[in-house]
Each structure stands twice: as C-alpha cells, then as structure tokens.
C-alpha cells in the first residue's frame, strides 16, 4: 500500500480532529472561560515545535514505529523504555478518553431524537472499547484510504457547524476574555494538549508514504496547521454561540449542545444538532479505533525490541494480528474507563504526551550532535532554538497539570520501572544472547580452488 501526501496528512488530521475537540472544549472552557480559545491557539504553537522535530527525525530515519523508533535509535535502552512505556500509556489513556466521550455523545445523540437510552455512560464506553478491540484483534484490515474518507466526513461536519455558527456567533461572549485570570490558560492548555498529539501517527506509517522524504515532513506540518485552524474556528463558534458558562456546564457534549442553539433543521437527519452529535459519535469512535491500533503498535514494537516480553512482539498464528499487544492494551483501557474520571484521563494523557515530546525534542538535539553527517532531507529551522523552545514549553505545560495527575503518572512510571527490572532480571527482555545470523556463504580460497 502506498499513501499519497493527502492520505498521509489525513492520517494525522484524523487522529487529531474530532475526539479532542468534541470532548475537551467544554472542559477547557470550564477552566479558563473564553480564554480557552487562546489556550488552543498557544497549544498549536507549542506542538508545532515538536512537529518540526518529528518531521526531521522521520525524514532521516526510515522506520515505522513513530517516536519510539526514533528514540530507540538515539538513546540507551532504559530511556527508550520510558518513551515507549509513556507513549503506550498515552494511547491507552486517550482511548479511554475517547470511549467516555463517545458514550456521552451517543446518549446525547439519542436525547436529541427524544430517546433516553438506558444504562450508565460507562457501559457504552466499555462496549465501544470491547467492540473495537475485537475488530482489531481479528483482522488487520485498517486501510489508510478508508481513514481518508472518514476524516473528510469529520472535517465536513465541523465545516457545517462553523459555517452556520459564524453567522450566529456573538463576539460579545468573549468579553471579558480572562474570566478566570490569565494564569488559568496554562492548566487549560495542559488539559487539551492531548488533542494536538495525533500527528505522530504519521510517523508510525512512514514506510508506506510515497516520496517519503518530502511528503512526511509536509504531511506532519500540514496536518498540524489544518487541525489548529479547524480547532480555533470550532472553539470560536462554540463560545460565541452558547457562551462560556453554558459550554462549561455541558462538559464533553459541549459542541453538540452548542449546535442545538443555531443549527437549522435538515431533511432526513432532523435537527442540525443531530448532525453534530452524529459527528461527535463518529469522530470519537474513529479516534478510538486509531488509538487502539496505535497502542498495540507501540507494545508490539517494544516486544520486538525486547523491551517488553517478546510475546507482545509477535503476530498471532491464526489471526495475523499482534493479538497479545492488543489484548494487553485493551485491559488497561478498560480499567481506565471504569476507574478514572474524564478530566483526570485528559490530564494524564496530556502529561504523558508532553513527556514523550520532551524526549523527542531532546532526541533531535542529541542526534544532531552525535551524527552530524546523517542525511537530513528536512531540517528544523532555527536549530537549536526550535527544539529547545519545544522542550521548555512542554516542561512549562507539564508543571501546570494538577498534582494528583502527577502522582498517577509517577505511579505508572514506577510501575514501569518495576516491570522493567523484573523482566530484565528474569531475562525476559534485553539483548538475548547472540542474534540469529545466517552463516556466510563460504568462498574458496586460492588454495582450495587449486585442488
């Protein structure tokens, strides 16, 4: 399979647009009021620094596997383990965020049609995770082209929302701008940062992209640019129509509720709000699918590199999928869905994404130092300022994420450290004796030829 620039860009946009914006807008407005708009804009800036680093690494190191593969190339095993461990967790935790967002929006969708669905949202979230995990466990048919179509539908639905909303939006809703004080921007940025991290999925499919050394950097940067523009328009419309207070109250169904205020009726679909609610359901489920694949790929890559038990790095003989990696990821996702509240889930995912991005930026600096003659078809402009700013911004945002999230994060890291030590002591991971190498083809020496 080969992915065009459009397909590759859509892989990134598809992972970013949708779930994050639908689920997190209300929560961000709850923290910082109308200034949430600025939080999204600044996050776009912050993530661009790291996106540039990804672009350079992806153009220079032709390897599927994304950030983890680059870090593995640059650092010693324990650092790469931390990177893989946190990336893995980010995907899993994002999965539970999207599953919870799906559940709320699915109930909202029924509600618009006057149907009150039975049961707790958590049950729907669990059902979504189980269904997608089962699908991915049984078949690897996850086509990039299908992804492109799905993403275009998502953008179109948000486009309809923005087109109607721009006429209805009231700029007065943004006055006063900083209802919660300027410093509230930072926690809002921390919470929503997870919405800006999907482009690294492009880096996990690099080997399938046409003319990769040109198209991968372009796809990464384009997907960030398009996503930021769409986010800003959507958040502007949401705040401008529903107002910050009502939006904050709506939580993870904020966008759908905003749409109820101004969307006209459509034939067949009914109210315009139903279209948006459908968009939210659709987006969260496709994002959930993306992270189920993403998380199992990281676990799979770590298994292959012998950083997790080798079982995780194998395909199942019958289904042809990395079954063990998918199942292990699913268990963590299910636990997170049940026990962790949605805001903590968002914060945790953002914190680990920030940590991963710090390591990626540092990997870029270290690679430039240690391998100056490496071919870099794309180079980060204003080096070393850009990656250093990337690190500084990510650290700053991380510091403003609440202490409880940090405790959970440190807990997961310590757990990872324990797993690592245990596995390496048991000899389950780490370099495992001499690798299997074919014997060389013997060549007769001059003496042998003579006889």
């Amino acid at each position: 399979m080969s992915l065009s620039l459009l397909d590759a860009t859509m892989v990134g946009i598809g992972a970013m647009i949708g779930a994050g914006i639908f689920v997190l807008t209300g929560l961000a407005v709850d923290i910082s009021g109308p200034a949430a708009l600025l939080a999204f804009a600044l996050n776009g800036g912050v993530t661009t620094f790291t996106a540039l680093s990804y672009a350079e690494l992806a153009s220079a190191i032709p390897r599927n596997g994304g950030g983890y593969a680059y870090v593995r190339e640059v650092f010693s095993a324990p650092v790469a383990f931390v990177m893989g461990w946190t990336r893995w967790f980010t995907y899993m935790i994002a999965g539970s965020l999207y599953a919870l967002g799906f559940a709320s929006n699915f109930l909202e969708f029924g509600h618009i049609y006057g149907v009150t669905l039975p049961g707790q949202p958590v049950l729907y979230a669990l059902g979504a995770v189980v269904t997608l995990v089962a699908l991915n466990a049984l078949s690897t048919e996850a086509s990039g082209r299908g992804e492109t179509a799905i993403t275009l539908v998502k953008i179109a639905i948000l486009g309809v929302f923005v087109a109607f909303g721009l006429t209805a939006a009231d700029v007065g809703e943004f006055d006063p701008f900083f209802t919660e004080g300027p410093l509230s921007l930072l926690p809002a940025m921390g919470l929503t940062f997870i919405a800006f991290q999907g482009y690294d999925l492009i880096a996990t499919v690099t080997e399938e992209v046409e003319n990769p050394q040109v198209n991968i950097p372009r796809a990464i940067l384009l997907s960030v640019l398009v996503t930021v523009v769409v986010y800003l328009l959507v958040v502007f419309v949401a705040i401008g129509t529903l107002g910050a207070d009502a939006l904050a109250g709506a939580g993870e169904t904020a966008i759908a509720q905003a749409a109820e205020g101004f969307m006209p009726a459509f034939p067949i679909i009914g109210s315009g709000a139903a279209l948006i609610a459908f968009g939210a359901v659709f987006s969260t489920i496709s994002a959930l699918n993306a992270v189920v694949i993403g998380s199992s790929r990281v676990a799979f890559a770590m298994g292959r590199e012998r950083q997790l038990p080798a079982r995780l790095g194998r395909f199942h003989y019958r289904y042809g999928t990395p079954l063990a990696a998918i199942l292990v990821s699913a268990v963590v996702m299910l636990i997170a869905v049940v026990v962790v509240p949605i805001r903590i889930v968002g914060n945790l995912a953002s914190l680990f994404s920030l940590l991963g991005f710090i390591i990626v930026n540092y990997a870029l600096i270290r690679l430039r130092r240690r391998q100056p003659d490496l071919q870099r078809p794309f180079e980060v402009p204003f080096y070393p300022l850009t990656p250093i700013l990337g690190i500084a911004c990510n650290v700053l945002l991380g510091l403003f994420i609440d202490p409880f999230t940090w405790i959970l994060a440190i807990g997961w890291l310590l757990f990872g450290g324990g797993v690592y030590l245990l596995l390496s002591r048991r000899g389950d991971i780490g370099p495992s004796g001499p690798p299997e190498i074919q014997e060389p083809e013997p060549i007769q020496t001059a003496e042998q030829t003579d006889d």
Binding site: A310, Q375, S432, P435, E436, Q444, T445, T449
Partner: protein, 220 residues
C-alpha cells in the same frame, strides 16, 4: 541457536553502490534496520530518496564517520565498497570499536588469511560468474546455489533422448554424490517412485566431482 525468537538486526552497510543498496533493500524487506555510509554527496541524495535506510554521508574508513553509524549498537557491519583494502580497514576499525560481526566484499581471489580476521566474505564477481554461466550455457541447466565448497544445487531439464528419460528413479542408477530434491511439479521431494519425465525440470544437489556424469544422464 538457543534463542528461538528472531531478532531484527541492526546492520551497517559501508558503501552505497548498487551492491550496498540492493543489500540494504533485501535486509529492509526482511524487517532489519540498516544504516548506509556513503561518501558521494549526490549518491547520498539518491539513497535518501529511496527511504530504505538511514544515510550517513562520509568515508566509512574514517573512524569519526564510522563512529556515527554506531557499531556498538549494531549486530553486523558489511563493508561493500568496491575497494578490497578499504573494506578490510572498515571491518578492522569496526571490530576495534565494538563486538560486531564483520562481512567484507572482496574483488580478488580471497586471501586465505582473511578468515582469521573477518566473519564473512562476499565475492560478487564469483556470484556474477554463476549468473553469467546460467545465461550463457542456457541448455536446460541452471545453478541455483553454491552450498559449500563442493556442492551445487542445480535445476536440470530432462532431455528427450536422455538416458534417464521416462524412467522411475529406482530404475536408474544416479552416481553417489547426487540427489534429486524436488520433482518436476515442484511440490514433492524426490523418492524412488519419482518418474524422470522428459521436458520437465528437477532440482538436484550434486557434488562437483559427479556433476559431469549427472549432466550426461539427464541431458544425453
């Protein structure tokens, strides 16, 4: 090998000529990670376009350049430039830097002492000669592989008037040192009831001292 888990290799290929690149491509297809070191800047651009390996621009026989390819993290170094002494120097330097398996390309008849210093030798001219022979003497015989010093795996077509044509294998006496591996349908190993149909191709392993005799039996 005691460890059954196949491990993806990290391989340094010194020399990004056609041979180096093709090697990198084949390794990449099998899932291994490759770093190519190539000194010509234009060639480096071409290689980067192919996106099969990490490219380091520079002369691999310079330790400073070789160091950037990280031999200490790699499993094998293959010195595949067209210069034998350069290749030898690269292998020696890499061995000094780390505990790495070395494979070098030779262009003359192998110096018998090479085996004391490097783990594997590749002699493209010799492999090329095999391919050339197959093309030139295209008379129903193709060498598939030189197994070792003495054994060849060949594919032979039974000629219409050959001595063995139409005979069952237990009726003919093939010389010691020859073995039919695969019958003409390509789906069964040769056995006593294998019939040597004229016009069909069989895969044989033959020791070089009986090759001539076997060819006579099959080709007439």
């Amino acid at each position: 090998m005691s460890e059954s888990v196949t491990h993806d290799l990290r391989v340094i290929v010194a020399g990004g000529g056609e041979m180096g690149v093709r090697t990198a491509e084949l390794l990449d297809d099998r899932g291994h990670d490759v770093v190519i070191v190539e000194s010509d800047p234009d060639r480096c651009d071409e290689l980067a376009d192919r996106y099969i390996a990490t490219i380091i621009e520079g002369d691999a026989s310079r330790p400073a350049t070789l160091r950037q390819a990280q031999p200490e993290r790699s499993d094998v170094i293959a010195a595949l430039t067209d210069d034998e002494t350069t290749n030898f120097a690269i292998c020696m330097a890499a061995q000094r830097m780390s505990d790495i398996r070395t494979v070098m390309r030779i262009s003359e008849t192998a110096d018998e002492l090479y085996e004391e210093f490097v783990d594997g030798l590749v002699f493209p001219e010799r492999l090329g000669a095999r391919a050339a022979t197959n093309e030139i003497a295209n008379g129903g015989v193709r060498t598939i592989e030189d197994i070792g010093g003495n054994v060849e795996v060949v594919e032979v077509e039974v000629a219409d008037d050959a001595p063995v044509a139409g005979k069952r294998l237990d009726e003919v006496r093939l010389p010691r040192g020859s073995l039919i591996i695969v019958d003409y349908r390509g789906d069964r190993l040769g056995g006593p009831d294998t019939v040597l149909e004229p016009g069909h191709r069989y895969v044989l392993a033959v020791e070089s001292n009986v090759a001539d005799e076997v060819m006579n039996l099959f080709r007439g």
